[in-house]
Symmetry: C2
Subunit: 248 residues, 2 copies
């Protein structure tokens, strides 16, 4: 991890051109620029936030993909969600309490840093941005809801297909996947297992089976869902509301 020497000016925020994101107005970008404290870069595997830590920053993902997870004392680990460009890190969890989860970079990532303390004044001066932040928090909750349904009700195969479809969908919206529904990202089978609540071995078998059936192709480098409609149907995945999300 290190600080980026030449951070973006918010007026030229790269997220402005992201297909799935609603661009900010010029005024808002100008304001955010004052609010912005700098940028950080992380390599794959770097820890961005650690469970138990008192976080006094908020981060917006500019580039990259992160995972958010919680660990149990005995070594078990549950990945709670993946985060894509435009997502806010640190919004999850009550502000005044230590972080309930850790966040780690899955690929090289670039994050925009905001001080948390200025948050109230941000809301005050730009209520619309405050609204957007609440919107993001609410949206994240809907996503978690989806994962909860997977964990609680779906079989191993359904879970893998659901996660694959969900990832590709989010990647398409953030320009990380191409038209072939192919996403280049190094996800370990162990990470998939920790996300889906399955054992490593069974995750492997399930992925192999889905590969043979042609539903999902997922190796350590990339993920591809050849037929999204078929996959979505198989796993009960509701292809995201096409509405674009706000970002900060």
């Amino acid at each position: 991890m290190f600080e980026v020497a030449d951070p973006y000016d918010c007026l030229n925020c790269p997220l402005q051109d992201c297909p799935g994101l609603r661009p900010l107005e010029r005024r808002q970008r100008a304001y955010m620029n004052d609010f912005k404290k700098g940028e950080l870069r992380f390599e794959r595997g770097d820890t961005i936030l650690e469970e138990g830590e008192d976080a006094n920053h908020l981060y917006t993902v500019l580039e990259g993909v992160l995972i958010r997870f919680r660990s149990l004392e005995d070594g078990r680990r549950q990945i709670v969600n993946f985060m894509f460009p435009g997502d806010l890190v640190g919004l999850q969890g009550a502000f005044d309490e230590p972080a309930s989860h850790s966040v780690e970079a899955l690929i090289e990532a670039r994050l925009c840093v905001f001080p948390r303390s200025d948050f109230v004044s941000l809301i005050k001066e730009h209520p619309r941005l405050g609204y957007d932040i609440t919107w993001l928090a609410a949206k994240e909750e809907t996503e978690l809801e989806g994962h909860i349904v997977s964990l609680g009700q779906r079989s191993a195969k359904e879970r893998v297909v659901f996660l694959a479809a969900w990832l590709v969908d989010r990647a398409l919206a953030t320009g990380l996947a191409d038209e072939g529904n192919r996403l280049t990202i190094p996800v370990t089978q162990s990470q998939i297992a920790d996300m889906l609540g399955l054992s490593l071995v069974h995750t492997n078998r399930t992925i192999r089976a889905l590969d043979r059936e042609g539903l999902v192709e997922w190796n350590s480098r990339e993920l591809c869902v050849p037929n999204m409609d078929k996959a979505a149907d198989y796993a009960g995945f509701d292809r995201a509301g096409r509405s674009s999300r706000p970002f900060i």
Copy 2:
């Protein structure tokens, strides 16, 4: 369901005295009163919000306990969370999209109704309240995170103990449980199963086993966790930050 004839004046909001909630300032209560549109009462089993519906209201739980769930086409159902006094209904899920889940009353409940459309102006005029709403959304997310960990990593017995401890903890904070950690609430084993991602039969066996071991006593009328510390330890339940939550 019917409208309450003599709703509370926000200045005398019953939640002000709730042990786990941070009271509102007089000014804020006065403002909320303008914002408030009325009160609704629901009986056990009544539907408050239906999946797919365009909700244009927000509700604060004044009294009662609710469940929030999502249904799959084939009849499977996943209960996502329980809601207690002070919780905001309708905050979950992006505002402009149809509800992703249904909400139902578990016991007789009384809800305070707010129009959603005035939400931006509320944030504008009382940024502090906007902050609190975001805080609540973030807190809910932490709770879902906890349930995700349960579903993904814990055994059937651990899940039941975790849920029991969690419910009692929340009930204590909202004055619904007594000092004996006893909570009078009619939860069906089928509902427990749908929350924990277990079959009805296995849920029953698990509860019986825990009863024999004296860890959790849970029948169709009430729930009791005789030794909270022991239970919390057994299930890896982190007894909630003692910090009191805000409410609207």
